[in-house]
Structures are given as C-alpha cells and as structure tokens.
Amino acid sequence: MTLTQHDIDQEIAAEHAAYDKRVADGAPVEHHPRRDYAPYRSSVLRHPKQPPVTIDVTQDPELVELSSPAFGERDITEIDNDLTRHHRGEPIGERITVSGRLLDRDGRPVRGQLVEIWQANAAGRYAHQREQHDAPLDPNFTGVGRTLTDDSGFYRFTTIQPGPYPWRNHVNAWRPAHIHFSVFGTAFTQRLVTQMYFPNDPLFPYDPILQSVTDDAARQRLVATYDHSLSVPEFSLGYHWDIVLDGPAATWLEEGR
C-alpha cells in the first residue's frame, strides 16, 4: 500500500491530539520527541519497548556521565566554522551566518565545548555516497563544520542556506531546510544531536521529523530567528539560534570555570 502525505498528516494530527490530551490530563510537558513516533517510519524498529532505567545523579557525584570529554584548539582549524572556504572556489547559494549561545538548563553558558554541524548544499543534496537525490553536487561545498564555543558560550558559523530535499518516508515526502547540530555540554548526560530550521518554512506541517516534537513551544525552539544584526554587509544573512542542553550537570564543577 502506498503511503501518502495525507496518511502521514492524519497520523501526525493523531499524535498531536494524543499529546494535548495527556497534558490536559496532567502529564508533564514533553520537550523531546518520543522515540516511538510511527509517522517517522524508521523509528518503528529502532526504539526500545522497555522504559529507561532512571539514575538519580545526586546519589553519586562521581558518575563518569557527569563529566564531559574535552575538546581544544588542536581539534579544530581556523576555517572549520566557515563552510564557504573549504574548497578552492566559492560554493553556489545564499551565504548565511548562524550564531547563538550554548546554555545549560540554568541559563549558564557552556564554554569551550565542541559544536559540529552538517547539512545539504543549496540544491538540497548531501555530499554523501548513499544520497540518492539527483540534485547537483557542488564541488565547492561539502557541508561539514565545527567550532568551539567562546567564553560567553557563543558559536558562529558561515555557510550556505541549505535546500529542502525529498526523502522516502512516504510519497512526496520533503524535509524542510535544516542544519544538523551535534553538541557537548559540561556533562555527558547533556549530549545533544538535533536540527535547526529556518523561519516560515512552508514544509513544517508536512514533516514527520519536525512534528515528532509534539509540543508546539518546544518545536518553535528548533527554528532560528532572522537577526539583522548578524547579517554581514555585502556578504551574508544572519540567523540567531540559542541551544539549551537538557540533562543534569555537575553544577559544583562549574564554579570558577
């Protein structure tokens, strides 16, 4: 049976309604997707059926998960955060500057930590062998960047506006334009991989990956804000996107950092 966008729309609506009812009945707000979100078909066989075993980190401050791997200047080069300079020529597309702060749940900046990004090119194609979308590759754009946050927790990338692209979740499935982010906190428990979207994308309601975040306010936190003060004259348009890490951190380690 061919799975259509209409089928997926109905599943998405049912998941939203179920979430709204849970919250109305007193369940807590869900900031993250559920791992068993069937409209994203790849999740069906890849989510645990057993509930996770909870660990109360206050019981043992020595847990290794309360510390984080370290990254430093030798793990990046000066142009790693400028994806437009990784080849001899200029990539095709609209140049953008993406910047924001990496914060913990208490709003404190996470300093000197690794932020990695990857994305499709302006035509909506990844520089990946398994990518089957026949949009053109750009010999001057790979779409991989990394940086360390500064002393105020800021990161900054210069890149190309990625294009939307089709995928095979269902017939006529399209991903809204996005940039993948992978970030570390002060504790391994805060590890986060996510995707940043661009404002006012008409594809939002149709995308089961974005809609897997069933809480409306949480979903909005995945969308960057156009920020004219970040736009670089004669060069790029600016987007601001702050990232807040979840998960407990060893607050007592943070003193004096």
Partner: protein, 201 residues
C-alpha cells in the same frame, strides 16, 4: 523563540533532540575514532559488538560514543581526540600518547563496531564501566547505556545500578569475555534481549 532570555529561568527550556538521520557519515565519524587507547598501553582492552533493531537486523547506520575513566579511575581532561592538521584541514588523528577517554565509532555495513580503549577504573560507588551513547537513523533521541566488564563478581554485585535490575536485563550491560583483553558487547534496540537504556535525572 530562539533567543533565550537567561534573566527569566522559566523561559530557559531545552532544545528538543532530533535523529542524526542517514547522512552524518561524512561529518561526525573520524579516522581512528575507536583507537582510544594510547599505542602499546598495557591496560588496553578491545571491545566489539553489533547493534540490532527489533527484528534482529544489524544497523549499518548507527554510531556509538564511548566515554570512560582512566585505569586509575580519574576522568580524562585531555583534548585532542580529533586533532586537525592546520595545513591541509584534514585529520591528524590522535597522537597515540595521550588518553582522552572519548571515542566515536560507527557501525560498518554488517552493523559491527569495535574500539580499543583502556580498562576503566572504579569511581564512586560503581563497578568499573564505560558510558555509551547510541545514535542512529530512526532514533529520535540518543540512548545511554553502560558497558560493565566481567570478572569481578563482588564489584558487579555491589554496583547500585546493576543491583536494581533483574538478572536477565542486568546481563545486557555486562560484556562477554572473548579472549585475552577482548570483550563483546551487543546492543539490541528493541525486543528480545533488549539492552537496558538509562535516563539521568
């Protein structure tokens, strides 16, 4: 909504997780990602295993991150896991001398992963273990688990996490000895023999 007002704590809410998708492979893995142990270190252990889905099919598009203490139980604070070459922009690889404690390994086409690291030391009340974070296409939020090593039954019996689990589930967290210094640790995301996954609060 994406400028966070840190002066109002109630507005500081977490950024939702998303799947890594299918195309992280040219961005996140790096050469020598699983060669965490310094070259020739006497406490080196080899870990390997497969990642399976709910039908027992190995995942060719998953990766793990391993994070663990040094053999004396101290937490590494050394950077340099993914050293870059400022001349070419490429990877230099680890220097083979320092121990960063962290590695990233992807599964191959057969769902198989491997890593060489140092035998973790004990910390706090726990038996020695390595922390593991699992990422995959189809997995909307990463999964945490732990690799405990067999051998010291008293330490394993006293571990606060293992003590809370029934015997069948507990065993999913203990690697199987597979020869000298070599261990096997399979991860089952769903179904029979499902690995115990953890949530930190």
């Amino acid at each position: 909504m994406t400028k966070i007002d840190t002066s109002r704590p109630e507005t500081v809410l977490p950024t939702p997780s998303h799947t890594v998708g299918p195309f992280y492979g040219y961005a996140l893995p790096f050469p020598g990602g699983g060669d965490i142990a310094p070259v020739g270190h006497p406490d080196t252990i080899t870990l390997q295993g497969r990642v399976y889905d709910g039908e027992g099919v190995p995942l060719p598009d998953a990766f793990l991150e391993l994070w663990g203490p040094a053999p004396d139980g101290t937490v590494p604070t050394t950077d340099g896991s993914l050293r870059r070459d400022p001349a070419t922009g490429g990877y230099l690889g680890r220097n083979g001398v320092e121990f960063t404690g962290w590695g990233r390994v992807q599964t191959d086409a057969g769902g198989h992963w491997y890593a060489r690291t140092l035998r973790p030391g004990a910390r706090g009340n726990s038996a020695p273990y390595l922390s593991v974070c699992v990422f995959a296409r189809g997995l909307l939020v990463h999964l945490f688990t732990r690799i405990y090593l067999p051998g010291d039954d008293a330490a394993l019996a006293a571990d606060p996490l293992l003590a809370r689990l029934d015997a069948g589930r507990r065993d999913t967290l203990i690697a199987r000895a597979d020869g000298a210094g070599t261990y096997r640790f399979d991860i089952r995301l769903q179904g029979e023999g499902e690995t115990v996954f953890l949530e930190f609060q």
